[in-house]
Symmetry: C2
């Protein structure tokens, strides 16, 4: 976002105490492009906040800009209004496959996951609010922002939008076949491989309340 107070991010993700991987280092990625790719591939994240000392994890939609993640503050209202300025963790995960090894111990999941830490900033500028909502909408359904009715002044006033800097983030992923293809277990003669998993979008289902002459817009066709 051009009107964001954050500096543009570099091509490498800075490693902090939180984003340094403690386990399975081979699965970590530190390129900024990997973060962008994980965020671009989905539209639902899991937002973690602390309420009364205990974690609360809620799913919510998000929109990713160059250096900022936008999400609705209402989902976190309970915690973020009671404790503004607190750190949150946003995790975006894509499950790509179930990894079936020769041994159950080597079973795994192919996935791509990003974790972003930071103190969210309430968005108050009307222009940034619209830009953030546009990103959230377009992430879930490209083309929809220019098609549907824009938010009214009253609706905007009822919207709590939060912005989270992408400065402190980590990316982890696993790809490929099981790891025990060259182990003694390979001699067991058991089948091993990956069952691919992917999120598929189906054909649009019209609202039953829709008049029959309303055409499906081009961006959904």
């Amino acid at each position: 976002m051009s009107n964001s107070p954050h500096q543009p991010l570099g091509t490498e993700l800075p490693v902090t105490d939180r984003t340094r991987l403690r386990r399975m280092k081979e699965k970590g990625r530190t390129a900024r492009a990997d973060l962008d790719a994980v965020l671009a591939a989905g539209f639902v994240c899991h937002l973690g906040v602390v309420v009364d000392g205990a974690p609360v994890v809620v799913p919510t939609v998000y929109g990713a800009a160059e250096d900022t993640l936008y999400f609705h503050g209402s989902v976190a209202a309970r915690s973020l209004t009671s404790a503004p300025g607190q750190t949150v963790c946003v995790t975006v995960t894509h499950v790509d496959g179930v990894v079936l090894a020769r041994s159950l111990f080597e079973h795994s999941i192919n996935y791509r996951s990003a974790m972003i830490y930071g103190v969210p900033r309430p968005v108050t500028d009307p222009e940034e609010t619209l830009a953030g909502l546009r990103l959230i909408t377009e992430q879930a359904q490209p083309g929809q922002w220019d098609y549907a009715r824009r938010p009214s002044r009253k609706e905007l006033a009822a919207t709590t939008l939060l912005a989270l800097s992408l400065e402190e983030a980590s990316v982890k992923l696993r790809t490929g076949p099981p790891d025990d293809g060259d182990s003694p277990d390979a001699a067991l003669g058991l089948w091993a491989g990956v069952v691919p998993v992917r999120l598929v979008r189906g054909a649009p289902v019209p609202d039953p309340a829709l008049a029959p002459d309303v055409p499906l817009p081009h961006h959904l066709g």
Copy 2:
């Protein structure tokens, strides 16, 4: 689990201060069967823990028994070893569709989500460990536990399994068309409906290291 210390759960989920819904009450479900259905429909959860006062949300696999959720402790090792006895939040989410309304304000997501709160119990009994691992494996790929090589004593010793009671849980979901079919916006003549989304399992992909004569087992066919 018959060897679990928890009492069997009733058919209704008890409402606690944490599971009482503050917003969108119409989306809440309190039947135990709704929780079971959400847990049965997936195999990846998002586990929220508190580390140094800040939330950390990590994706991990799980297995659901009648009154207990099992997951690997290693993913939470950083927090759960430094602060044993702390409350966690496990969230399981299925995205079912993108709800395209006439107004952007009414855009939404069709989803099913369960949140479980509690203090996880480290599983130390070898029989319960095997039963928990079996549930986790079978949740991701039914039939696989009886096919692949079982964990050795050494592998079991390297496995940290946690059990979380399903006593304190909430279920939220949204289904159906957009909510503005009977609003003034219906007169705008805009298309509205739902783009269905679902997780699809593809055909199994053999490990390139696999000998060509190893048949695909029946449970994967």
